[in-house]
């Protein structure tokens, strides 16, 4: 099942990537990747290191341009649009290497997430016109709600760069949620988290979906992936090798081979991690 047949946008799919390909010089990071994410689903993208997962996110959010192929949101092509436009269309994300605004406060970080949902111009901001003040209060209120949602409300006034890694990751989620996305891409949200934090993260991901937001999850923590995802797509060396429900993926021979390169399967992978 190495070469995927081209599928077109299915009804009920929010995000669809079709024959996506990305080369960096001679290296093909992604080739012929096709899959869809149904609206309201939690879909995981897994694969060994270097499989092209983060490249996929960078293509979907417009940070990178694909060499070939299309990405569509709600049936409309967004390939080649600038990151700001794609964000405006309802795609938000977190970053594997945590890109918070370190010198701003925690609350201000989330307030940046409200940027595109507010409109004050340079002039009205500089003159502090009454309607601009009302908008500013609105921004603050909405940002505080999101902080509360991820459980960081008591950290609002702290300098974001001073938070421990786990809380910085939650802050990225709150900031992304503040943009009111249709779809949220989480890039290794559990990396560096301890077991308890990861459990709370699973619960948070479900609550996000509960708000009607579609979630795409890139993650190495197999417990988390198997626990929260409705659907999993597995990529290896830039190609899709499997797609299906968590229990199908666990038993899939191609997945077992990609992860271990030997007999043994997911049970062994789990054993190694622990």
């Amino acid at each position: 099942m190495t070469h995927m047949e081209t599928r077109h946008h299915q009804p009920g799919e929010l995000l669809h990537v079709d024959s996506l390909e990305k080369s960096f010089g001679g290296i093909r990071a992604l080739q012929g990747l096709t899959f869809g994410v149904p609206a309201g689903a939690i879909k995981a993208v897994i694969g060994p290191n270097g499989a092209g997962k983060t490249t996929l996110f960078n293509l979907v959010t417009g940070i990178l341009l694909p060499t070939r192929g299309t990405i569509s949101l709600n049936g409309k092509t967004i390939t080649g649009r600038r990151p700001q436009m794609i964000a405006r269309l309802g795609v938000s994300r977190t970053f594997q290497n945590v890109l918070i605004f370190g010198r701003m406060t925690v609350l201000e970080n989330v307030m940046v997430g409200r940027h595109m949902r507010s409109r004050a111009s340079l002039l009205s901001a500089g003159l502090r016109l009454p309607w601009m003040r009302r908008e500013e209060q609105e921004i603050r209120a909405r940002a505080t709600e999101r902080l509360d949602f991820v459980g960081l409300a008591d950290r609002a006034k702290e300098r974001a760069g001073n938070l421990p890694l786990g809380e910085q990751k939650l802050l990225e989620v709150a900031r992304a949620l503040a943009t009111e996305p249709k779809i949220l891409l989480l890039d290794e949200p559990a990396g560096g988290l301890n077991t308890r934090e990861t459990e709370r993260l699973a619960e948070l991901i479900r609550r996000i979906r509960g708000q009607g937001i579609t979630v795409v999850l890139v993650e190495h923590d197999m417990n988390l992936v198997m626990d929260v995802s409705d659907d999993i797509v597995v990529i290896s060396f830039g190609q899709k090798i499997a797609e299906g429900k968590p229990r199908e993926i666990k038993k899939h021979p191609a997945v077992i081979e990609a992860y271990l390169g030997e007999e043994g399967g997911y049970a062994n992978a789990e054993g190694r991690r622990a």
Binding site: L99, M116, S121, A125
Partner: protein, 323 residues
């Protein structure tokens, strides 16, 4: 403005009000009022530069040129075409803003410090034009007899009147800039400085905001230039060269890039050092000047404004260890 800013602001207003009274009592420093007018004029430029450098993370080496464009637009329109000074000032600001936009758009689309390169070249070009276009600018021998500013038909003659005018403008611009910092625009600028990729992903139009703050800073420099033209009343190209651009950047760095108060403090200190306090060193003044800059940059990379918070931090820790 937040509460802390408001407190400092009131303190600054009190100092500015007391200053002319204090210096008029002592004959030896009565000319400090004149120096303080220059501090005010340069502060208009450095506040804009502070927004650009400390908040948008871009360096300009061409702000003396924008200052010069404002000064010469005012000078030429008033001297050659007898335009009213205020109208000339607005024309200068619009013209300089348009020029800054043309310089900024291509260089700010690129990531990295291309703006510094572009503005460096731009500044050199402006100096050449000011020297060569003798018919309009008077060339190297300068443009003299720029008329005084008038308010409601009354010319502003005295130093005190000019001091009040300049510093009123500085305070208005300061409030404007502080308001901008504490708004979605200020947050957008700071977010660009911390992580441009993340700012993009939040829908912040990074290139647009960089251009916006660059144009704003150029317009402020132009206004400063017009004030300079009507105060000094004589313009020559040497007053708007690369050395001044570098000095302006140094003022912002010495005071503290990430704070508008730092820009004001740095402008005040370096202007007084350069115009007054280092004269005792005669020909060696430039060495002392350089040594001070070196010391500040090495010992206080966050600028002079970081001294206060640092001292209070040390004081608190000292008390804790005693208790």
């Amino acid at each position: 403005m937040n509460r802390q800013d408001t407190g400092i602001f009131l303190g600054v207003v009190v100092l500015l009000t007391a200053f002319p009274v204090a210096v008029s009592q002592v004959e030896a420093i009565s000319h400090y009022l004149d120096v303080m007018i220059f501090v005010g004029i340069f502060s208009l430029i450095t506040m804009g530069l502070s927004l650009l450098m400390g908040y948008a993370g871009q360096v300009s080496l061409g702000h003396a040129a924008f200052f010069g464009l404002g000064a010469y637009t005012s000078g030429i329109l008033c001297v050659k075409l007898a335009v009213s000074p205020w109208l000339a000032m607005v024309s200068g600001a619009l013209f300089t803003g348009a020029v800054a936009y043309a310089v900024g758009v291509p260089s700010l689309k690129l990531k990295g410090h291309y703006l510094a390169m572009a503005t460096l070249g731009f500044g050199v070009i402006v100096t050449i034009v000011l020297n060569e276009e003798v018919e309009f600018t008077g060339g190297p021998s300068g443009l003299s007899d720029v008329p005084r500013l008038e308010i409601l038909g009354v010319p502003i003659r005295g130093e005190l009147e000019f001091y009040i005018l300049v510093w009123s403008m500085v305070l208005l611009v300061l409030v404007f800039c502080l308001n901008v910092i504490h708004s979605r625009i200020g947050r957008a600028l700071r977010s660009i400085h911390d992580s441009e990729v993340a700012a993009d992903a939040m829908g912040v139009e990074t290139a647009r905001y960089k251009v916006m703050v660059f144009v704003l800073s150029a317009v402020l420099a132009s206004l400063a230039g017009s004030l300079y033209a009507h105060y000094v009343r004589f313009l020559s190209p040497g007053s708007f060269d690369l050395l001044l651009s570098i000095k302006l950047v140094m003022m912002v760095v010495v005071g503290g890039m990430h704070s508008l108060w730092g820009a004001l403090l740095g402008t005040w200190l370096l202007t007084f050092l350069g115009n007054e306090w280092l004269h005792v060193f005669k020909d060696f003044d430039i060495l002392v000047y350089g040594a001070i800059l070196l010391f500040v940059v090495m010992a206080l990379p966050e600028g002079l404004v970081s001294v206060g918070p640092r001292l209070s931090h040390m004081w608190k820790r000292g008390r804790e260890s005693e208790g």
